[in-house]
Symmetry: C2
């Protein structure tokens, strides 16, 4: 069951390691599955966070699913933007 | 069979539409499957190209697989870099 699915929203403003530690904290507190979600220019940060986690911290972590999608967002000045979204599902094997 | 798998390398230097038309040309010339590949900061461009193709040009296109990986690259000044890589597999249903 994936009742313990948690989400980490990855942005561009903070250092990547913040998101890495957020994920590790969630796994340590019992989550089996953490989803990294990012939009627009933060997409490559999300991919890097997943890679960092897998290569440096939790080598048995599995990237169980990746989806991409688009999202319509209205910016502050009223423009319609079409942003890409990525969701990377990380799961901890039993 | 995926013998007709073609690859489009997405970078940051050209307009997104160039990659979109490259994919469309490949599908029109008979490819069943095109892989978009990008590294580092171009990753979000690859995701945008996939979204553009699906939303604006070929609505029945399927995003059949997405993988992320890391790659070690030696830069011009001799430094070792660890770049993230994404591969987005697009396929045209029969």
């Amino acid at each position: 069951m994936n009742e313990e699915k948690k989400m980490v929203i990855v942005g561009n403003s903070k250092p990547l390691l913040n998101y890495v530690t957020a994920c590790i904290t969630m796994f340590n507190s019992g989550a089996r599955c953490v989803v990294l979600r990012a939009r627009g220019k933060a997409i490559n940060a999300a991919v890097e966070v997943a890679q960092l986690l897998k290569k440096r911290f939790v080598s048995h972590l599995e990237i169980s699913n990746i989806t991409i999608d688009g999202e319509n967002v209205t910016s502050r000045d009223g423009k319609q933007l079409n942003l890409s979204v990525i969701e990377i599902e990380l799961s901890m094997p039993n």
